[in-house]
């Protein structure tokens, strides 16, 4: 058969695609393998896991044990409360701060914004000791407040929403001025709905960030009544259930579930083009 230029191009394109997908499949497997392994072992009896075997009778027993023998429900509840409060606080405080940085004119606006940005440069670990001393002298240790108050706002959130608000066409602000909207009305009725996608992204990001907190709650909470999930897992590991690997795997799987829900629920909104048609 005669090889035409079109035929050659088609073969080259196809082999390129094959290579691309092969690479993606390998990478996906590398990333997902530990996760699958963990999920698999969570259904196995601990005796089998201890033997290093990956076979055995699969059952929900570990999950049943996790819910009945450990305080994991309490951990989940604690984390849920803390994460929801933190998420709501981030959305509110970051969005009003970002609004001010975009739509209000005041002296040193840009400079102040850079100060906010600069706080992102400081790693959290470096703030742990002064923060710990502060909350201790405020007598907040081992209390919900200690896991909420230091995280009420987020420099990243302000930065992200400032970028989002900057995308709002200036004509919309002028149109709102002609209609006589106050800043608060413009914020509520235009800026927030216009930036829905960014707000949802920030909400998911904040929720997961809070859900996955480990270092700070470990330092500041001492009782099962207040402990969030990630520290709860460690607690399970170090307590009497230390050798019950099946139970720990099942607990870990339970803890991951809300993360997955948030990601799947969030994904629906990460579609582009929702703001088309505003201008031009």
């Amino acid at each position: 058969m005669e090889m035409t230029t079109a035929g050659q191009a088609s073969i080259r394109r196809r082999s390129g695609l094959v290579f691309k997908y092969l690479l993606l499949a390998v990478l996906a497997f590398v990333i997902i393998f530990p996760f699958i392994l963990g999920l698999w072992t969570s259904f196995l009896p601990t005796t089998e896991i201890a033997k290093g075997s990956l076979q055995g009778h699969l059952s929900w027993q570990n999950y049943h044990d996790a819910f009945t023998q450990t305080p994991i429900l309490r951990y989940l509840f604690n984390s849920l409360v803390i994460s929801l409060i933190q998420m709501a606080a981030h959305l509110f405080f970051a969005s009003i701060a970002a609004y001010a940085f975009v739509f209000l004119e005041f002296k040193y606006r840009e400079q102040l914004f850079y100060v906010v940005l600069a706080t992102m440069m400081l790693p959290f670990e470096a703030e742990v000791i002064p923060n710990f001393q502060t909350v201790r002298s405020l007598h907040l240790l081992d209390h919900y407040a200690v896991m909420v108050i230091p995280f009420l706002t987020s420099a990243f959130g302000i930065f992200m929403l400032r970028q989002a608000f900057k995308q709002i066409p200036w004509d919309l602000k002028e149109a709102a001025d002609v209609d006589g909207l106050s800043h608060w009305q413009f914020y509520r009725q235009v800026a927030l709905p216009y930036s829905k996608i960014s707000l949802l992204t920030l909400a998911a990001y904040s929720f997961l960030g809070s859900w996955n907190q480990y270092l700070w709650p470990m330092l500041t909470t001492f009782s099962n009544r207040l402990r969030p999930v990630q520290d709860g897992l460690r607690q399970l590991h170090s307590e009497e259930t230390a050798t019950n690997w099946g139970l720990i795997q099942a607990s870990a799987a339970i803890v991951v579930i809300p993360t997955l829900i948030v990601l799947f629920w969030g994904q629906r909104y990460f579609k582009s083009g929702l703001n088309e048609g505003s201008v031009k």
Binding site: E174, V178, Q189, Y194, E276, G277
Partner: protein
């Protein structure tokens, strides 16, 4: 009473030059007033000062006899249509129209009635539940118009509302806006860079250039009596021919560009350098044989009902000539360019000093 602009000036602190200086105008109740000028002339700035979105640096703005400097936009009782339409993408068509009314705390029943009426007026009733992104450019434009209609304001400001539409739709919307304005008795201030829109829509036109008002007049008066070079060049397509001429004798009655192209004047002119402005349809091109004539054709555009001939005079100056009908003429053909007689004469400060044989108002032919 209308709107009065008295010495309106806009300057920004960091800039040495004001962006607008000493704008004076009186806009009558219920008229369509067009502000026209090239981009960067300050026309949108002027509109935003009238709206109250940006502050006036100096001068006075009065609406219905009341000084409005410093009054917030919503208390000026006006509506505004933006070049970009400024629709809220997350609201459907009806909610977009209702938005401003809700902000003004109008009763719900009244809002509903106004929205329905406004959408009917712009033929968008079918689309009331759609989001802006599901509409075409022309429909979006109409939503923006419906917003202005639904408002009870009698003053409407429009900032280049048609510049994002294609040519055919623009012609259609031009007529629709004009009709709406008459029907609703709106005082409409309309900003555009398009001289055709100014000519076809306006009751009065303000020509802005170089941060200043060049002329305020009716469209035909602007075309027939352009105050200066800029106005003459801005109005009329193809552009007017501006030819530099010297009056070499004292009190001469004849201005000569060359031996064939000349204009005879009724009034004598003093010695000096002038600019002769002749509209392309006031020039005649006659084909000649061989090397005679005074110009060479460089381009011909046949539009069907008229033919535009571009030629270069032997002195090197390009001229545009419009002839009615379809004229067969070749490129590089030698022609003789002569004037029919109508012309404008501008002095060396580019100001109009003499009109020669143009149409004056009292000579306007009434259509029967």
């Amino acid at each position: 009473m209308g709107i009065e602009l008295r010495g309106i000036t806009k300057a920004y602190e960091h800039a040495a030059q004001p962006v607008l200086r000493e704008v004076n105008a009186e806009i009558q109740d219920g008229e369509l007033f067009v502000i026209v000028g090239p981009s960067g002339c300050g026309k949108s700035t002027l509109l935003r000062m009238i709206a109250g979105i940006i502050p006036i640096t100096a001068g006075q703005l009065a609406i219905d006899g009341q000084v409005m400097n410093g009054v917030p936009p919503k208390d000026r009782k006006l509506s505004m249509v933006f070049q970009s339409y400024a629709l809220y993408p997350f609201l459907d068509v009806a909610a977009n129209v209702a938005f401003g009314l809700k902000a003004r705390k109008m009763p719900v029943a009244e809002i509903k009635k106004r929205v329905t009426e406004a959408l009917e007026m712009v033929n968008l009733t079918k689309y009331r539940a759609r989001k802006p992104r599901e509409l075409s450019g022309g429909q979006r434009q109409r939503v923006a118009l419906a917003r202005a209609i639904a408002s009870d304001a009698k003053i409407c400001l429009m900032d280049e509302p048609l510049s994002n539409l294609d040519a055919q739709l623009r012609v259609k919307m031009r007529a629709e806006i004009r009709e709406l304005q008459r029907k609703l008795g709106l005082t409409l201030i309309y900003v555009t860079h398009d001289q055709t829109e100014a000519m076809t829509m306006a009751d009065h036109v303000m020509v802005l250039n170089d941060q200043q008002v060049q002329q305020i007049d009716t469209p035909l008066d602007i075309y027939n009596h352009p105050a200066n070079h800029f106005v003459a060049q801005f109005f009329g397509t193809p552009q007017i021919n501006l030819l530099t001429v010297k009056a070499e004798q004292q009190a001469t009655h004849e201005l000569r560009v060359d031996s064939a192209l000349k204009v005879v004047l009724k009034e004598p002119l003093a010695l000096g350098t002038y600019t002769l402005g002749i509209r392309p349809n006031q020039l005649i091109a006659t084909t000649v044989i061989g090397d005679t004539g005074n110009a060479q054709v460089i381009n011909v555009e046949t539009l069907g009902e008229q033919t535009i001939i571009e030629a270069i005079l032997d002195s090197g100056v390009p001229v545009r000539i419009v002839q009615a009908g379809q004229v067969q003429i070749d490129i590089e053909q030698r022609i003789e360019v002569t004037a029919k007689g109508a012309a404008f004469i501008f002095d060396d400060h580019q100001q109009l000093i003499v009109e020669q044989g143009g149409i004056t108002d009292d000579q306007l032919v009434t259509a029967k």
